[in-house]
Structure formats: structure tokens, C-alpha cells
């Protein structure tokens, strides 16, 4: 049976309401303060290191984002740590919170479809994270201008733009996951814990498991047979790419370091005629991580779709 009327009716009403909630909410303030402090610390130490080498590096601002100095990780290191947390914090009580407050049936009795509610919430989360990321990034670049005294180049900004895009796709994955859990679990605390559990799994245990899985799947890695070793390395890489964290990390490596030419093992014969250390043009770097970006995007879409299907079949009454 076909239903009539657009599923997008009311989408923007939901979007702006949720976005306003996020931006004015205490939860977001805490996150902002946390991210801002750590990012500033990372960038500050980065500039301290970079000051000595200004003028030697053509991609100063990309270095600014990626330079780590003990004990602090780099700016991107902080981001890849905090972005999933922020995304989860924004969405873990999106749907079950409406149930708990008794607002869901009231909102859905207005002339909108459920599609608009769920998609509006997702977009609002993404919008909030975009605002956050953009503000943070501009702050960092501004701080760089201040301390380094060198204006950024067009290519650097273009790379930074793709970096932001990749970060957004990565955030989208965690946002969609948290949204899915908020549909699946009636208790917001359960949903938050489950989402954080998944994040911990991919951040801590998955790297350990990939190696184990690769050797378990391919037992005959012969130390005297380079080909079997290559096969095993490739398999481990393939398995590790099932994790959004790996995909994101690889995207960042290639986008922010123009000298990176390959994301996997490479044979010496493949390097014939290559001038090592020369930067790739932006288009080639983007081409290199295109599968990773597509993978992140697809994962976000998949998770959102799952949440959407479950939500559509759910009863309105609590």
C-alpha cells in the first residue's frame, strides 16, 4: 500500500530543533571544552617543534595537524579519539529519549512521517559536528598563523578540506551507530554503553584481533617464503580494514602526508623509477583513499538504514 505525502515534510523543523538543542545543551558544552583544550594543547606543542623547521617543509600546516610530541598526541590523533565520542554523545538518546519523555507519540501525531524525525536527528547531529569541526579547524589554523607567521597554501587547504570531509564521514558512522542503538535499546544508558563498547572494541581490541585472525586464517606463513608472508600481511590489512578506525586512519595518512604513495605493502619492483619522498598531487592522494572514503560513507549509510528499518517497525507506544 502506497502512502501519500512527502516523507520529508517537517524534516527541517526537526533538524533546526535538534541542532538548537545540541548547540545549547550542556552535553555539547562539556565536549567542546574537552576537545578545545586537548586540541589547543596538541597544536601548541606542534608549533613549538615546527618553529625550528619553518621554511624547510612545504606543507607546514599539514605538519601542524599531524605532529605529535610526547606525551601529547597530534591534533588528528586527538580528533580520531574524540570524534566518535562526540558523535555517540549526540545520538545515543535520540529516539529512546523521546520514548522516555513521552514526546514521541505527540510529535508523530503531527503531520510528519517517522522518516523526517530520524533523518532530521541524524542530519542535526552531523550539522553540529560540522560546526564543531570547522570551528576547531579554523582555530587551529589561526593559531598556526599566529605562531608560525606563514600563510597556508591552497593545496594545504584543499587537503585539509578533504581531511574534514573524511572526519565527517567517520563521525557519520558513529552517529549512525549511536542512533541505531538508541532505536534498539529502550534505556539511553544501555545504548550509550553499547555504543562505547563498540568503539572500545574497534579502538583497542580490533588491532590485536586482526593479527590473530590473519595467522589463524592463513596458518602456513613460512618464514622462508616471502610470498606467503606477503599474503599474510595483505590478509591482516584486509581484515583490519573492516574497522572504521583503520579506514579513517588510512585516509588521514594519505591526505595529510602527500609523500604517502601506498597504504599497503609494496614490492621493490613497484618502486622502480619512483623518486622517493616527492609529494603526490592532491588528486592522486584522493584517488588513493577513495575506497576508504567510500567505505566509511557506505558504513554510515548502512547503519542508518538499519536504524531506519527498525524504527519504522517499532510501536509508537512506550
Amino acid at each position: 500500500m502506497r502512502r501519500e505525502g512527502s516523507p520529508w515534510t517537517g524534516l527541517w523543523a526537526v533538524f533546526f530543533k535538534e541542532m538548537a538543542d545540541h548547540l545549547s545543551g550542556l552535553r555539547m558544552r562539556i565536549l567542546e571544552a574537552l576537545i578545545l583544550l586537548s586540541a589547543l594543547a596538541a597544536v601548541y606543542t606542534g608549533t613549538q617543534t615546527l618553529r625550528q623547521t619553518v621554511g624547510e617543509d612545504p606543507y607546514l600546516y599539514l605538519k601542524l595537524l599531524t605532529t605529535a610530541q610526547d606525551p601529547l598526541p597530534s591534533f588528528v590523533g586527538f580528533l580520531s579519539f574524540f570524534v566518535p565520542l562526540a558523535a555517540i554523545a549526540l545520538a545515543f538518546d535520540a529516539v529512546n529519549g523521546e520514548y522516555a519523555r513521552g514526546t514521541l507519540s505527540r510529535v508523530l501525531s503531527q503531520p510528519i512521517y517517522r522518516d523526517a524525525l530520524l533523518f532530521g536527528k541524524f542530519l542535526a547531529g552531523l550539522g553540529t559536528l560540522t560546526v564543531l569541526l570547522l570551528a576547531l579547524f579554523l582555530l587551529v589554523v589561526g593559531l598556526g598563523l599566529f605562531t608560525l607567521g606563514v600563510p597556508p597554501e591552497a593545496e594545504e587547504m584543499a587537503r585539509a578540506f578533504f581531511f574534514l570531509l573524511a572526519t565527517l564521514a567517520y563521525a557519520g558512522v558513529w552517529l549512525a551507530l549511536a542512533l541505531l542503538f538508541s532505536v534498539l535499546f529502550r534505556q539511553p544508558a544501555t545504548a550509550a554503553l553499547a555504543a562505547i563498547g563498540v568503539w572500545l572494541f574497534f579502538a583497542v581490541f580490533f588491532p590485536i584481533l586482526t593479527d590473530l585472525a590473519a595467522s589463524a586464517l592463513l596458518l602456513q606463513a613460512d618464514p622462508f617464503d616471502p610470498e606467503s608472508q606477503l599474503r599474510q600481511a595483505n590478509l591482516a590489512l584486509w581484515v583490519s580494514r573492516l574497522s572504521p578506525n583503520t579506514l579513517y586512519a588510512e585516509s588521514l595518512t594519505a591526505l595529510l602526508n602527500p609523500a604517502v604513495r601506498s597504504l599497503g605493502p609494496i614490492l621493490i619492483t613497484q618502486l622502480e623509477g619512483a623518486v622517493l619522498g616527492t609529494p603526490l598531487p592532491l588528486s592522486q592522494s584522493v584517488l588513493l583513499v577513495w575506497p576508504q572514503l567510500t567505505g566509511l560513507f557506505a558504513l554510515a549509510v548502512l547503519l542508518f538504514t538499519l536504524g531506519y528499518v527498525v524504527f519504522q517497525r517499532q510501536e509508537v507506544r512506550a
Partner: protein
């Protein structure tokens, strides 16, 4: 024209039957009460009328529209007050309603005018900037009704509107519902507090285990189930039971010493008074409207006996 019409409407959750073969007609401008205990299928029926739950079989028409096919049109014309209505506690009353007007797609000026109108009408204008988290249950309920009116609905569906209200607040709220009827809004309300809503309902439908057991006016149901539409309490000398019973139109007489409970098909107070005075002394005489609670209790006693 029937504003709400259902034919063979059925909803099953797995093997559990929530609503079975519901045939209901609600006429324009009437207050119809869906009554019954918790879990008897009232809320499920309401959700199906709004297109928020898909019926297993059967069909429903609200204002001539199919809620499954055209839910947006139905929901634009039908106001719904859920039971345990909730609002965003961190927003003010005004902001909560503003969100609703955005969802309704009302233009800015129109929205503001309507919000002011409904808040004033519900007596909430003074607290419009207060956060809803600080509202009492009664205030929330009134805010819910304000939201229903925001739509300028043709039909208002109210689920357990008086649940959790203190008697005074409940009475006030029922007055507000009467106001809707005066405006020509058709009201469908559900409740398990039979005595509270029986006064304002033109007709009622009694639900029992997913089926609509009885439909009609309270008087007609009393007539049908209790055997008399009028219940007269007489306090007089003892021993008048048979004389009362002999009167035409008397259904049943229950005597307890000098207290009599007479169920009759019409108002027999003059006749009863005459008999009482002739044969002794009359101490008290009062007409009590039959209560739905009794109708309900009696009906299901009979059902249980028959089974």
C-alpha cells in the same frame, strides 16, 4: 456523516489480540467515550485511527480519509492528546508549541497568533516562558490540550485525559473538553475512569478484551444491562418492597431494611412517594443516574456467568 468509521478493524501482536473486529461509528460533533480497563485495546484503536500503527486487517476512515494511506492529511486534521503526554522539559511552554507549529508548517505570524490564543484559552499564558519541567501534571495536560487546539482540529482524540489528575483538575479538564464540543469539534476520548467521563460523553463504547462489548448512550446501556434506566433511592418504612415491585415500569427492587433501591424505566418518584406516604413515612427520595461502573460490572458478571 460519520467522522470516524471502522470496519472489522483488527490488530494482533503475534498471537495476542489487541483489538478484534471493531466496528465503530462516531458522528460529527459528538463526544464519544471509548471506555474499558487497561489493556483492553483503547490506545491501540486510537493509534490505528491516526495511522501510527498498522491494522492487521479491516479498515478505518477518519474524515473520509484512510489513515494508512494518507496519514499526513489525517494527522493535519486530527488533534491527539496521548496518555502520559510528554513535553521537552528543557524548553518553555511557548517553545514547545512553537516546535509543533513548525512541524505543522504554519507560517510565523499565524503560528504566534495561534499559540497566544490557545495558551490564553488554557490559562497558561502567564507561565508561557517557564520551563515545562517545572509544570504540574495538570498544567502539562492543559498544555497538551493547547497543542491539540493549535491544529484547529475537526476531531480531537484524547487518550486517558483525566488520568493522574486530582479531582478538581479532572473536573476542570472535563469542562475544557465540553468547550470543544460547543465549538463543533468531534471528541473521541478513552478512559478507564468510567464515572469521571460518563457525564460528558454523548455515547460510549465499552471495551472488553479487545472487543467492543456495548455501544450506546449511558441511559440506553443502563436500560439494556441493568433493566432500568433510572435508579431511585427511597428511605421509608420497612416492608414496602412488594408494593414498589407492583408498580408499572419497575424493573427491580433491592431492599435493605428501610432503604430501597428501585430500578425503573422511567422516573417513578411521584408514585413511589405516594405509596411510601400511604403506608408509613417517607424519609428520603432521590434519583440517581445509573453509573457506568455498575453497567460495566454487571455486564461482565453476566458475561462471566454465561461462559
Amino acid at each position: 456523516m460519520a467522522v470516524i468509521q471502522t470496519r472489522g478493524l483488527t490488530k494482533r501482536y503475534g498471537r495476542v489480540v489487541a483489538v478484534e473486529d471493531l466496528n465503530l461509528e462516531v458522528e460529527e460533533g459528538e463526544v464519544f467515550g471509548l471506555l474499558g480497563p487497561n489493556g483492553s485495546g483503547k490506545t491501540t484503536t486510537i493509534l490505528m485511527l491516526l495511522g501510527l500503527t498498522e491494522p492487521t486487517s479491516g479498515e478505518a476512515r477518519v474524515l473520509g480519509l484512510d489513515p494508512m494511506r494518507e496519514p499526513l492529511k489525517v494527522k493535519a486534521r486530527v488533534g491527539y492528546l496521548p496518555d502520559q503526554v510528554g513535553f521537552y522539559g528543557e524548553l518553555s511552554a511557548w517553545e514547545n508549541l512553537r516546535y509543533t507549529t513548525r512541524l505543522l508548517g504554519l507560517p510565523e505570524a499565524e503560528a504566534k497568533a495561534r499559540i497566544e490564543e490557545v495558551l490564553k484559552r488554557m490559562g497558561l499564558w502567564e507561565v508561557k516562558d517557564r520551563k515545562v519541567a517545572a509544570f504540574s501534571r495538570g498544567m502539562r495536560q492543559r498544555l497538551g490540550l493547547a497543542e491539540v487546539l493549535l491544529k484547529r482540529p475537526k476531531v480531537a482524540i484524547l487518550d486517558e485525559p483525566t488520568l493522574g489528575l486530582d479531582p478538581e483538575a479532572a473536573r476542570e479538564f472535563l469542562e475544557l473538553i465540553k468547550g470543544l464540543k460547543r465549538e463543533g469539534i468531534t471528541v473521541l476520548l478513552s478512559s478507564h475512569l468510567l464515572h469521571q467521563v460518563q457525564e460528558i460523553c454523548d455515547r460510549v463504547g465499552l471495551f472488553h478484551k479487545g472487543r467492543l462489548a456495548l455501544v450506546g448512550t449511558v441511559e440506553a446501556l443502563a436500560q439494556q444491562v441493568l433493566g432500568g434506566g433510572y435508579e431511585i433511592l427511597v428511605e421509608a418504612s420497612p416492608g414496602l418492597e412488594e408494593a414498589f415491585q407492583a408498580l408499572e415500569g419497575v424493573g427491580r427492587v433491592e431492599a435493605e431494611g428501610g432503604r430501597y433501591r428501585v430500578l425503573a424505566s422511567r422516573d417513578l418518584r411521584p408514585e413511589l412517594a405516594r405509596i411510601a406516604v400511604e403506608r408509613g413515612s417517607l424519609l428520603g427520595l432521590s434519583l440517581r443516574k445509573p453509573s457506568l461502573d455498575e453497567v460495566y460490572a454487571r455486564y461482565f458478571q453476566e458475561v462471566a456467568h454465561a461462559a
